[in-house]
């Protein structure tokens, strides 16, 4: 488990992050979300012991990352994928992985078998002897992911892992992240792609130099927005919106083209009553739907509130 407690980092007069408190459990996919300059990279660097906190601490399986003598021990447990792949471009793909394998203290036999398994899985084996400089952006990103998991770390930190990947490779990497979780690994993800964070993460933390919100994507959506239902009606003329708004379970109602849009407490319980009311008034309902809020809506709402000082 990774514990982040009162974590603060100040650069001169600039606050990188302030008083972050959260935990990341085992076998969890945890996403860090935030606008540019919100302190995501600083948080990742603090969590991996690359930089030390001004205040507070991070502990990885009970070992604090600011205990420099114990840092190599922590680093054996973690793998880091930076935002830019950063390979040794003149060296072959195999040599790049071999170098990192050796830096993590793996035996040459273990490196050989692990490299082959991973490169075959990521469809890079045929290119193992080619200099990385000849690779496409997507191939470099895949190789960087292989480097990150080369030593089979327990905690995998990924900064924008799907950047530069085509849709097919992107799906492959998403599936790979899920398989890491299924194999008991913890994935800590920093991403701008809120759709990916929504699909992949068990929990997300929204930060803007401090922690704004943390929960599962579905819980955050529920906290940020009431559920919204839409009734598409053949002809909406004559509908009395005030009568609808007067219903106890309706939080708000509006008409949009030929649709009635309402925020309600529970569509499962309330839709039959609304339907009965509308049919009773002679309206012909074409179909009923629910507006699904995306994590992006939630994120934008949280960040906006933070900018307005409401969070």
């Amino acid at each position: 488990m990774i514990q982040v407690s009162g974590l603060t980092r100040v650069y001169g007069s600039t606050v990188g992050v302030e008083d972050l408190n959260f935990e990341v459990g085992d076998a969890e996919i945890f996403a860090l979300l935030g606008p540019n300059g919100s302190g995501k990279t600083t948080t990742l660097r603090l969590m991996t012991g690359m930089i030390s906190p001004t205040n507070g601490y991070v502990s990885v399986d009970g070992t604090r990352t600011d205990q420099l003598k114990l840092l190599p021990e922590i680093h054996r447990k973690i793998g880091i994928l930076p935002e830019v792949p950063g390979h040794y471009e003149n060296l072959s793909a195999y040599r790049n992985l071999q170098f990192y394998g050796r830096m993590y203290g793996m035996s040459d036999d273990a490196i050989e078998s692990r490299t082959k398994d991973l490169m075959v899985e990521f469809e890079l084996w045929d290119k193992r002897d080619s200099p990385v400089a000849t690779f496409s952006k997507g191939m470099k990103q895949k190789l960087a992911i292989l480097r990150t998991v080369m030593h089979d770390p327990k905690y995998v930190f990924l900064d924008e892992p799907l950047s530069g990947l085509d849709p097919e490779s992107s799906k492959f990497v998403r599936d790979y992240m899920k398989s890491l979780k299924e194999n008991g690994k913890t994935v800590i993800l920093s991403t701008h792609d809120l759709d990916d964070a929504d699909k992949l993460s068990d929990r997300v933390a929204v930060i803007r130099n401090r922690l704004l919100a943390i929960d599962s994507p579905s819980a955050l959506k529920a906290q940020a927005f009431k559920r919204t239902v839409v009734f598409h009606i053949e002809s909406i003329r004559g509908l009395d919106l005030k009568e609808i708004e007067a219903m106890a379970f309706v939080n708000s109602a509006r008409i949009s083209k030929d649709s009635l849009v309402m925020e309600v407490d529970s569509p499962e319980k309330n839709n039959p009553d609304i339907t009965a009311y509308l049919v009773g008034k002679g309206f012909r309902i074409q179909f009923i739907g629910e507006i699904r809020r995306s994590l992006e809506d939630v994120y934008l709402s949280i960040v906006e509130k933070s900018k307005e000082g409401k969070l």
């Binding site: 930089i51 973690i78 930076p82 040794y88 170098f99």
Partner: protein, 241 residues
């Protein structure tokens, strides 16, 4: 210190230099050029009948003492800043390597290449000079005690001083070009200035040896200062800014 990590770091740096044709062939050319120039300049003196003139010969071999420092200015000054510019520093710092192991790996790679090349140059100079002068003089002119001190003591120690100084100075530079320029325009001239009094002294063996000890002490001081300055956090946040 985990020497297997240091060795792997060195090996990787060697391979990167080896794959960079321009730098690699420049390095190979360096001892050949220096030996050629030294042989041309010193052959007339070597063939002269005056023993006093021949004592001046050692000043020509002195230039080879600088090879490790020159190599460092070519490849050592940029090795860390290049890692940062290529974004390979962060994954590297995420491995279990300690700051001092990283420093040692980065320092030893150019230093050992430089020392090796200086030995190649000294050996070439000795063999070529002996081959050209033996028929005329009737005895082997080299190696002298002074050449051996220069080869096995002064060259490595000057290289150490240059390498540590270069790494320390390059830590304050913004980019690769600046690191190389400072190394070539500040570190090398500084070493040359330190060395000039020794050459001017008539290349006395004792003075060379004492100077070597002085350089060694200076190199060790700079080593400890450099290791202190070589903190991953400083490198990650401040270097190259």
């Amino acid at each position: 210190m985990n020497f297997s990590l240091v060795r792997e770091m060195m090996r990787k740096d060697f391979q990167e230099v080896r794959r960079n044709g321009y730098v690699f062939y420049s390095l190979l050319l360096l001892p050949i050029l220096l030996v050629a120039v030294s042989v041309i300049d010193s052959l007339a003196i070597a063939l002269s009948t005056s023993g006093q003139s021949r004592a001046l010969l050692s000043t020509f071999s002195t230039i080879m003492v600088f090879i490790p420092a020159i190599v460092t200015s070519l490849i050592g000054s940029t090795s860390v800043i290049l890692e940062k510019n290529n974004h390979s520093l962060e994954p590297l710092l995420a491995t279990p390597i300690t700051d001092s192991e990283l420093f040692a790996g980065k320092a030893l790679a150019p230093l050992s290449v430089g020392i090796l090349l200086s030995w190649v140059a000294f050996t070439l100079y000795i063999v070529v000079m002996d081959a050209l002068t033996y028929g005329h003089l009737g005895y082997l002119l080299f190696p002298t005690d002074l050449t051996l001190v220069q080869m096995f003591f002064l060259a490595p120690v000057t290289g150490m001083l240059g390498t540590f100084l270069t790494l320390l100075v390059s830590s304050k530079m913004k980019d690769v070009r600046a690191a190389q320029q400072v190394s070539a325009l500040v570190v090398l001239p500084l070493l040359l200035l330190l060395f000039l009094p020794i050459v001017a002294s008539g290349a006395d063996l004792i003075i060379n040896f004492v100077a070597g000890v002085g350089f060694l002490v200076a190199a060790l001081i700079i080593f400890f200062v450099s290791v202190k300055a070589f903190r991953r956090e400083t490198i990650l946040i401040s270097w190259g800014k």
